[in-house]
C-alpha cells in the first residue's frame, strides 16, 4: 500500500507532539488567564469573569469591537462579491494571455507583499488623495487584501464544476445569467461560503494595515488591544484578546464543518 501509514521515525512522534503543544500553548495561556480574577494577569488568584466584565465596561474596547464587526462584514461582502466575479471571469472567460496573467498577478500579489509595505503605502496614498472617510478608509484597505482570500476557495470549487453543467442549462433554454443563477451558483455555494468566512477572519485579524490607515476613533479591536498593551497588560485586555481568539477559532471550525458537509 503506497501510503505513509506505519512508517516510523524514532523521535518524530515526540517532536510532533511538542510541535503541537508549542502551537497551542500561547493560545491556551491567553484563554486560561482570561478567567484569572487577579489584577496581574499571569499571577493566578482565582477563577472568575471579572476580566470579561472589565472588558465590557471599557468604552474604547466596545467601540473597537463594533468597528471590527462593521469593517469585517463590509469587507467580507464586498471582497467576496468581487472575488466571485473575478473567479468566474478568469475560469470561464476567454481572454488574452496578457489579461489573464495580469489578473492572476493582481490576485496573488497582496499575499506576497509584506503587510508593512502595504500599510505605509496605503496610508501615504490615502493622505495624498485626501481620502477622509473615517472607518471607510479602513474598509477600503481591508477589501483590497481580503479579495485573494475569498478568491481561493471559490476558484477551487469552480474547478470542480464541469462545464457541461452550464452548457446543459443553456441547452435547456436558460440564458447565461439564469444558467449561472440556477445551476452554477447553487453548486458554487460551499466555495463562496468558505471564501466569505476566510475573508471575515482575515479582516478581523488585521493589525498593521489598520493601525496605519485608521484615523482616530476608527480603531478596530486588534489595534485597540495593541495600543492598550503598550501601556501595560491588564485583565480586560486579556479578556478581549480571548474573545477575539475564540471567535477566530469558531469561524475556522465552522468553515471546516461546512466544507465537510458539502463534500459528502
Amino acid at each position: 500500500m503506497n501510503t505513509g501509514t506505519n512508517h516510523h521515525m524514532p523521535g518524530f512522534g515526540m517532536a510532533a507532539f511538542l510541535g503541537i503543544v508549542f502551537l497551542y500553548l500561547p493560545i491556551l495561556a491567553v484563554l486560561v488567564f482570561s478567567f484569572n480574577t487577579g489584577r496581574l494577569v499571569t499571577v493566578w488568584e482565582g477563577f472568575g469573569f471579572s476580566a470579561y466584565a472589565d472588558a465590557f465596561h471599557n468604552a474604547d474596547l466596545r467601540r473597537a469591537a463594533v468597528n471590527s464587526m462593521i469593517v469585517a462584514t463590509g469587507a467580507t461582502i464586498s471582497s467576496t462579491l468581487l472575488a466571485l466575479m473575478a473567479a468566474v471571469a478568469m475560469h470561464r472567460g476567454q481572454m488574452g494571455r496578457l489579461q489573464k496573467q495580469t489578473a492572476y498577478t493582481l490576485m496573488t500579489l497582496p499575499l506576497l507583499v509584506p503587510e508593512v509595505v502595504i500599510a505605509v503605502t496605503t496610508m501615504a496614498f490615502f493622505g495624498i488623495i485626501g481620502l477622509r472617510l473615517g472607518l471607510g478608509n479602513v474598509l477600503i484597505a481591508h477589501i483590497v487584501f481580503c479579495i485573494p482570500f475569498a478568491y481561493a476557495p471559490i476558484r477551487a470549487r469552480l474547478g470542480t464544476i464541469p462545464r457541461s453543467m452550464h452548457e446543459a442549462a443553456t441547452d435547456l433554454y436558460a440564458d447565461p445569467w439564469r444558467a449561472f443563477r440556477h445551476v452554477t451558483l447553487p453548486l458554487l455555494m460551499p466555495g463562496i461560503t468558505s471564501g466569505a468566512l476566510l475573508a471575515f477572519i482575515t479582516s478581523l485579524d488585521d493589525f498593521i494595515i489598520t493601525q496605519m490607515v485608521a484615523p482616530p476613533g476608527a480603531a478596530t479591536l486588534p489595534v485597540q488591544i495593541y495600543n492598550m498593551v503598550k501601556k501595560g497588560i491588564k485583565p480586560e485586555i486579556n479578556a478581549a484578546a480571548s474573545l477575539l481568539l475564540a471567535l477566530s477559532v469558531a469561524i475556522v471550525l465552522l468553515s471546516y464543518y461546512l466544507n465537510r458537509r458539502s463534500t459528502r
Binding site: 452548457e167 446543459a168 443553456t170 441547452d171 435547456l172 440564458d175 440556477h182 453548486l187
Partner: protein
C-alpha cells in the same frame, strides 16, 4: 421527407492551440425530418464538434446552419429548439430528478401545472415513476441516462442530439437502450442526431449514417450502403472487417485492388455458383468466436485474408483452401 436540419459549408477552426485545428472542414449535410441520423467516426474526426455546432455550444467559423428553413447560425443555444443528451449526462446534482426534467420547461416560462403534468408523463415514459424526488447522485448509470433523455425530450425539441450517450453503459444495458432509443425516436417522431464511434451501434440503429474523417464526411448513406458499398478504404476498414486484395487473385485486372467481407466468402466450393469468383490459399489460423469462426488464409501473393463463412467446416491448419465470393459482393472503392 423534407429537410429538417441543413448544414451549409460549415467550418470550425480552433485557434487557441499552438497550431490552429480545423475540427470541421467545409462540411455540408442535410438531415431529414423524422430521421435517426448517426455521425460515426474515430475519435478526433469532428463528430462531437459538429454536434456542438448544431446545439449552439460552439460558434461556426464559417458557414450556416438552418433548422426547418430558419437560419440559426447566430442563435445562442438557449434560443434553439434543439436539446442535447450529454455524454456524462450533466444532470444537475442539486436538483431532484423531477426538477431536472422540468428545468427546460421552467426556463421557457411554462405554467407550473403544465410542467408538473409533463414531468409525470416523462417519468412514466422512462419507467422511473417512483424516482421523481430522488437526486441524480442516488441513481444508477442506466437510470441517470434515462433521466437525461427525458430532460431533453420533454421539451419536444425539433432535433435531439445525443453525444455518445450510451458509451458509459455496460454491454447488456447498452443493447437494451439501443432498442429503447430507436423505439422512442419512432414514437415521438423527433429527428435524432446520434454521435458514436461504435460502428455496430450505428449500423443497428440508424436510418442514415455519415461516416466522418478529419472533419469531413467520408460517406453518407444507409447502413446497407455503407456496409456493402463503402466509398473508400477508410470507410470499408472502419465498418467491420474488410479484406482487400489485388484483383489478380480473382482473375481480375491486376491494376486494381478489390475488397470483400469475410462473411461473403464460401469455403471449398460449398455452394459455388456461376459468376462467383474463386481464389486459393493456405489456411494459417483458425479463431473461434462462438457464433462465428474466423479462418485466416495466406494467398500465394503473400496477402492475408480473413474468412467467416456461414457454415464452418472442420479444417486443419496448413491445408489448401479454395474460397469463392459472389461477384455482386465485391467492393471496389477509392483507396
Amino acid at each position: 421527407m423534407s429537410d429538417c436540419l441543413v448544414i451549409e459549408s460549415v467550418t470550425k477552426t480552433f485557434a487557441h492551440t499552438d497550431a490552429p485545428v480545423k475540427a470541421v472542414d467545409d462540411l455540408s449535410l442535410n438531415i431529414r425530418e423524422n430521421e435517426f441520423f448517426t455521425l460515426l467516426g474515430p475519435s478526433g474526426c469532428g463528430k462531437t464538434t459538429l454536434l456542438r455546432l448544431i446545439a449552439g455550444l460552439e460558434k461556426t467559423s464559417t458557414g450556416r446552419i438552418l433548422l426547418s428553413g430558419d437560419d440559426i447560425t447566430s442563435l445562442p443555444p438557449n434560443r434553439r429548439p434543439v436539446n442535447t443528451v450529454f455524454q456524462n449526462y450533466a444532470l444537475f446534482p442539486h436538483m431532484t430528478v423531477a426538477e431536472n426534467i422540468g428545468f427546460g420547461l421552467k426556463m421557457l416560462g411554462r405554467p407550473d401545472t403544465e410542467i408538473a403534468t409533463a414531468v409525470t408523463d416523462a417519468l412514466k415514459t422512462i419507467r422511473l415513476e417512483q424516482l421523481g424526488t430522488r437526486k441524480p447522485g442516488e441513481l444508477s448509470g442506466g437510470q441517470q441516462q434515462r433521466v437525461a433523455l427525458a430532460r431533453a425530450l420533454v421539451n419536444r425539441p425539433r432535433v435531439l442530439l445525443l453525444d455518445e450517450s450510451l458509451s458509459a453503459l455496460d454491454y447488456k444495458l447498452r443493447k437494451d437502450m439501443q432498442i429503447e432509443l430507436k423505439r422512442l425516436q419512432r414514437e415521438t417522431g423527433v429527428t435524432f442526431v446520434f454521435v458514436t464511434h461504435d460502428q455496430d451501434e450505428a449500423l443497428s440503429m440508424s436510418d442514415r449514417i455519415a461516416v466522418m474523417h478529419k472533419g469531413r464526411i467520408a460517406q453518407l448513406g444507409t447502413p446497407q450502403e455503407i456496409y456493402h458499398q463503402p466509398a473508400s478504404r477508410f470507410v470499408a476498414d472502419f465498418i467491420g472487417i474488410c479484406n482487400f486484395v489485388n484483383g489478380g487473385i480473382f482473375g481480375l485486372s491486376e491494376t486494381q485492388d478489390v475488397g470483400f467481407r469475410p462473411e461473403d466468402a464460401q469455403l471449398n466450393n460449398r455452394t459455388h455458383k456461376d459468376g462467383d469468383l474463386q481464389a486459393h490459399g493456405r489456411l494459417t489460423h483458425i479463431t473461434y468466436h462462438g457464433a462465428t469462426t474466423h479462418f485466416q488464409i495466406t494467398l500465394s501473393s503473400g496477402e492475408k485474408v480473413t474468412l467467416a463463412p456461414h457454415t464452418a467446416p472442420d479444417l486443419t491448419p496448413d491445408s489448401e483452401i479454395t474460397f469463392s465470393v459472389p461477384a455482386d459482393r465485391l467492393i471496389r472503392c477509392a483507396p
